[in-house]
Symmetry: C2
Subunit: 350 residues, 2 copies
């Protein structure tokens, strides 16, 4: 007889900050990191998972591969500049790109709520197709589940992706060195504000559209040009601030950035002021930070800006040898520590 | 400027049987297949997706890989013989095994409902860890999202998996040949009845536990022994009947099976009679059908039964040269056509 599953914990339950799951556990801030560190890391501990990277990197035969996943629960499903379908493809493509991989294949798992209009599903599927075409990936395997009315929210999509790494670079937070230039690929905050505006029915003078776009073309260009990439990170949940803090923690370096060089569009800045958001923490779906040696910074920025797109890359700071911290030099010259946010800034953003 | 996403369909919306999603669209029967054929196949058409296999198979470098995904929405979360965690690991491991791959790495995407007890999450994560250890796979990358109370159902889990194919066989429904033996790996119907009993609070004289178990060890043994596997399929949603019908459709052959050789435990048969279920359509999570040349059948069965486990493999039929159909020779000698079920037999079974 097969042994019965035992439900006794293999490791003791860690002291829990919350007896129940809160929205903040999915927010990309301090609580989410605590949940991951307390629950998932001890259970599944293995060298690949402990890497704290956007995806896992491993060898199969003579191929070096990257593998990543994300679930998408964005609300509303459709927003200026995209929808849950384009997001589900682009987000996973971008995680592969951030590992330095060329995205190859995606899977898609749909959780549909009974009663969802099939016409919406059709639009979402078409949007996934277009996003996959744009990023040059194939959706090769999938799954569909339906849950009873009131037990879902129209549609949740999970995508996982595999990509191939075709260079010898080690792209990782640990590879970040003192003296490295920190380059931001464009303006920040648009995805977060676009979602918020669509959700709350807010109208601004100009329509703020999500920056949702595949990052693999620009990354492939940087690699093709021989830019010595040390690290990349896309600026999704938790925004620029959280990405920099995570990288600073893993490489144990000080990252000093200058507020004046971080581009925030005027309309986004205005919306942030009205809504009480800090653009540093807002989610983006087509922006990333790049760490390269100082000598490669100028050519890297040139390459990024030659790819077209709707934004301008710029150097925003430098890595110093100090202990882990992210320091922001403000427009008026003062310097403050950038901290990971606590609580929930903006739920269901992706 | 980035072009605005266009929501105009790339292909026209197919004539829709339903204007809204129904539970049956996730049931593994006729409606689910129609949704996939109408929506997903035309949008994402590519040779790998069109393969109608349990996963996609492709080459990267000198490695032949398999890639698959499933979302798990089973209700209740805990049931005799397993829980959503063990199911999420085992189900994806089994899909890789059915492609003839050795499972290597899994991803896990969690969609948690605000208010879920963290103690439950802990038990589920521990169960995933044990299932991964048992199957010899590593969980290497993950994602956590939280949705508002009332917009989920405690927890949904998606897993995707990658495996490596280390043999030259082409394991696929199209490889099925007239004369092939059809071998069933054990008794059927237990997972479906275990879920149903747990959900409805039914009690039987004996506890019926799910058959949930990883199939990769037995498949690796069969491959290691040089059994010429033509096709394998695990018997999840839709059960034995749907698996045979799908294979028959793809290989365009007649499959003749004998009811008397299909093992259904007495307590499962009794429960089916009370509940009005046909065991042929009930979901299993540790059973598969194997197609091999007649000359390899005996040795294959021997190998399967030497792996231990709680069930006995047996030959249940033969592939004939006729056009696609599945015929069941009943205990009393009559023969009937086995058809794909319509509607929803048992929702949220996996």
């Amino acid at each position: 007889m097969k042994p019965q599953m035992q439900f006794a914990p293999v490791c003791p339950i860690p002291i829990m900050e919350y007896p129940t799951i809160q929205m903040a556990h999915g927010g990309g801030g301090r609580q989410m990191h605590k949940l991951i560190e307390d629950f998932f890391v001890p259970a599944f501990q293995n060298p690949l998972l402990l890497d704290r990277h956007d995806g896992a990197v491993f060898d199969v035969g003579n191929a070096r591969m990257a593998f990543t996943t994300d679930s998408y629960v964005v609300k509303p499903l459709f927003f200026p500049g995209g929808d849950i379908g384009s997001l589900a493809v682009t987000g996973t493509v971008n995680d592969l790109a951030m590992c330095g991989a060329r995205p190859l294949y995606l899977s898609a798992g749909f959780i549909l709520e009974e009663g969802m209009e099939t016409e919406k599903l059709w639009r979402i599927v078409q949007s996934m197709k277009r996003a996959a075409d744009e990023a040059g990936v194939y959706l090769v395997t999938g799954d569909t589940k339906v849950v009873d009315r009131g037990k879902g929210d129209e549609i949740f999509i999970n995508t996982a992706g595999v990509g191939v790494i075709e260079h010898e670079l080690v792209i990782h937070p640990k590879a970040v060195q003192p003296g490295d230039a920190v380059i931001l690929s464009g303006d920040i905050g648009r995805h977060g504000i676009a979602i918020m505006a669509a959700r709350e029915g807010l109208e601004f003078e100009t329509e703020i559209t999500s920056d949702c776009a595949p990052l693999s073309p620009v990354v492939q260009n940087l690699l093709g040009e021989g830019i010595d990439i040390h690290c990349m990170r896309d600026l999704t949940r938790g925004g620029l601030a959280s990405a920099l803090i995570e990288i600073s923690e893993v490489c144990d370096r000080q990252i000093l950035i200058e507020e004046a060089s971080i581009e925030v569009r005027e309309d986004v800045r205005g919306a942030c002021e009205i809504l009480g958001f800090d653009p540093m923490y807002l989610a983006n779906e087509g922006r990333f930070v790049l760490f390269v040696p100082d000598a490669h910074a100028e050519r890297g920025i040139e390459m990024m800006n030659s790819c077209g797109g709707d934004s301008v890359a710029a150097r925003i700071g430098t890595v110093n040898s100090g202990p882990q911290s992210v320091l922001l030099k403000s427009v008026i010259g003062s310097t403050r520590i950038v901290d990971m946010f606590s609580g929930e800034q903006l739920p269901r953003i992706c």
